[in-house]
């Protein structure tokens, strides 16, 4: 992707509290329409990183540009390109949803009809249009979460930064949040998403940075990360017919590293199951086997994290 599409570029971010290094040389970039995930356990340095990128926190070293403009505590112009959704709810309970939106909209330079129209659109998207005049202290947890994210979208930012937006959220609201992020990314928004939930990172993110103890240990697509640690996909085929001939045929398919008979079928080890699956099924059929079922087990980011750090994500 060219430079024109680069929305966020950060490099060499450092932040220490006394002797403790909270962030130690973090750097990555996000392009237009891309969702980048910072995956790591609590205390890994995700929120500190995101706070430095947003200009909430002074940094010891490092550079951040958003839409080509530098950003820091004192460099505020580029902040207009960012929609920030903090980890904790950041809404005023004694104001209505509409008042919250109007207030934050004004801080981002919106006014008049444009502000009203954007507030209306966000209320519609978040499903709060009918409760717009109620104080948010009367809202359910899910409604508050939706408004919390809606405020970040109000000024149509180029980069949406979501800091663990699903922590403490019920499954239904969580799913709604993930759907929204997928939709926004599909519409071309760049998204920085921090989480310690492996499934969220796998579902949403085009690229993932695995962060632990203030350092990005590895970065790439899920596939790249898995390959990085040498993990392989396992394909379990349940079949009938001439299984011995079928196993021999499977071993000849390009990309298959090993194939062994098991009860009711065979197990195959491969670099990328999705790529070879059509050829695999064709080879079994040609050898006289009848496929009854296929189960693909791909190594996940949990396994990658475990491999890189020696501990589980939820440790």
């Amino acid at each position: 992707m060219g430079e024109m599409a680069r929305v966020l570029e950060c490099s060499g971010l450092h932040k220490s509290y006394g002797e403790r290094k909270a962030v130690d040389g973090v750097g990555f970039h996000i392009d237009l329409g891309e969702t980048y995930g910072l995956l790591g356990p609590n205390g890994a340095g995700k929120t500190t990183t995101i706070s430095m990128i947003c200009g909430l926190l002074t940094r010891d070293a490092g550079e951040v540009t958003v839409a080509g403009e530098p950003i820091d505590v004192g460099q505020i112009h580029a902040k207009q390109w960012i929609g920030y959704v903090p980890q904790d709810l950041a809404i005023y309970p004694d104001l209505t949803a509409e008042e919250n939106l109007m207030f934050f909209g004004r801080l981002y330079g919106l006014s008049g009809k444009a502000l009203k129209s954007r507030a209306e659109a966000v209320l519609e998207v978040t499903g709060l249009i009918d409760r717009r005049g109620d104080k948010t202290e009367e809202y359910s947890g899910g409604m508050k979460r939706r408004l919390n994210i809606g405020i970040g979208l109000l000024h149509e930012p180029r980069l949406l930064m979501l800091d663990e937006p699903t922590v403490g959220v019920d499954p239904q609201s969580r799913n709604a949040i993930l759907d929204s992020v997928e939709r926004l990314s599909g519409e071309g928004m760049a998204v920085l998403y921090t989480t310690h939930y492996m499934e969220e990172a796998e579902r949403l993110c085009n690229r993932v940075g695995i962060i632990d103890q203030g350092k990005i240990m590895a970065e790439g697509t899920r596939r790249e990360l898995v390959e990085l640690i040498g993990e392989r996909d396992r394909v379990r085929v349940v079949a009938e017919g001439n299984l011995d001939a079928a196993v021999s045929a499977v071993r000849l398919v390009e990309g298959v590293e090993s194939a062994n008979r098991s009860e009711g079928g065979f197990d195959i080890l491969t670099g990328d199951a999705r790529v070879i699956l059509p050829a695999l099924l064709r080879a079994i059929a040609d050898a006289g086997g009848v496929v009854k079922g296929v189960d693909v087990v791909e190594p996940d980011l949990e396994a990658v994290f475990l491999h890189l750090t020696g501990k589980a994500l939820r440790d």
Binding site: S51, C54, G55, L56, L57, T58, V73, G74, I76, H77, A78, K79, Q80, I82, Y84, P86, D88, L89, A90, I91, Y92, P93, D94, L95, E99, F103, F104, R106, L107, Y108, G109, I151
Partner: protein, 393 residues
């Protein structure tokens, strides 16, 4: 600048909505001023009843009964009643019918003329300490006059120790016809004193101003608790915009509360604040100082509760030291001087200057200047510290 007003407008809406600022800024001070005005009557309306028991009926005692006490009655602050004996007098005092009684024993005049000790007894009402104190002051003044005349007469008669009562009266009246060589003229000096209603209204207004103005910077700590502070900082506005927006909230709340109190106490309590321009400048100075001091106090704390506590301690200490509860007229000199570190003392002093018959706006300007200076210094420290709260380290 637009964002400063946006933040201040949002905060004002919240404060008005939860009514905290209205209660602290207007209702509480007005109610207290009204209560003080009702409970503590003005000195100017003081009136009491005195009794006098004259068992002597001599020349010297008649000076008290025929000249001094009628003069007191003419001045309008006491009625005088003659009583036959001490027992009846004591009973009336005990019943509360009389504030105090002057008791002149038999042989009083003779004792004075013979140079012996003579005593006037004041029978005081324990429930009317002020009446008793004034009666004692009248009796002491009378005794000093008699002692002085006795001394003069003794000297005039060549050192005789026994003075005839007639001589005292005679010499006294003859002395009265002489023109004194030095005249001490009592001028109608400016009283420089607010009426009680004005004093209570002003003192409660300045005291509670320090509670009202705190709502500005204090809300930074509320924003931190609510989690909205990071969202404010993430917006394309500088840290100073947030801090100044908060300070503006405190200033506006203080100014509006002060204005409402001045109008309400004038219309409903009959307070007379003085020259409107002078009062306006003093109120402005008071609001600036309160905003500054409360900003400094709020930023010394880590939580809202802690900040409110600090501010309450500071506001009450400054109010007491500044003479909002008790007049500093009778305080030791060092306390009076120490009170000048408080905006409260300067505010009340400025209003006293305006209350003087020849008081002008110019007379109030020093007080305004000191209050603004206090506000600028403490507010500068407070705002710098507040910026530190906004920008994460």
């Amino acid at each position: 600048m637009r964002s400063v007003f946006t933040i201040a407008a949002k905060d004002l809406r919240q404060r008005i909505r939860d009514r905290s600022a209205i209660i602290m800024g207007v209702i509480a001070p007005f109610a207290l001023a009204a209560v003080f005005s009702l409970l503590l009557p003005s000195d100017q309306s003081f009136h009491t009843d005195y009794g006098v028991v004259d068992l002597d009926n001599g020349v010297v005692s008649s000076i008290l009964t025929s000249q001094v006490l009628p003069g007191v009655a003419e001045a309008g602050f006491a009625d005088i009643t003659e009583i036959e004996n001490r027992a009846a007098a004591a009973e009336q005092v005990e019943n509360g019918d009389l504030g105090a009684v002057f008791f002149i024993p038999e042989g009083f005049s003779e004792a004075i003329s013979s140079g012996s000790d003579a005593t006037i007894t004041i029978i005081g009402n324990v429930d009317s300490a002020l009446s008793t104190q004034i009666a004692e002051a009248i009796a002491s003044g009378y005794a000093e006059e008699i002692n002085a005349v006795s001394l003069s007469v003794a000297a005039a008669l060549g050192g005789f120790t026994t003075v005839q009562p007639g001589a005292i009266a005679d010499l006294s009246s003859r002395a009265a016809t002489f023109e004194p060589s030095i005249l001490v003229e009592e001028s109608a000096a400016d009283s420089k004193q607010m009426s009680d209603k004005t004093f209570y209204s002003a003192s409660m207004a300045i005291m509670f101003l320090f509670f009202t103005a705190q709502f500005g910077i204090l809300s930074l700590l509320s924003e931190r608790r609510l989690g909205t502070l990071p969202r404010l900082v993430a917006a394309p506005i500088g840290p100073w915009t947030i801090v100044i927006g908060k300070a503006l909230t405190g200033f506006v709340l203080g100014a509006v509360a002060m204005l409402v109190l001045i109008l309400a106490s004038t219309l409903l309590l009959g307070a007379e604040w003085g020259n409107p321009i002078g009062v306006g400048l003093l109120a402005l100075g008071g609001v600036i100082s309160a905003t500054g001091v409360s900003a400094m106090a709020a930023t010394m704390a880590k939580t809202e509760e802690q900040a409110s506590g600090w501010n309450a301690v500071l506001a009450m200490s400054l109010a007491i030291l500044g003479g909002t509860f008790f007049s500093l007229d009778r305080a030791p000199e060092f306390v009076s001087k120490l009170s000048l570190v408080t905006p409260h003392a300067w505010f009340l002093r400025g209003l006293d200057e305006l209350a003087a018959t020849s008081g002008t706006v110019v007379d109030a300007l020093p007080a305004v200047g000191v209050m603004v200076a206090i506000g600028v210094v403490t507010g500068g420290i407070g705002l710098l510290r507040a910026r530190g709260l906004v920008v994460g380290k």
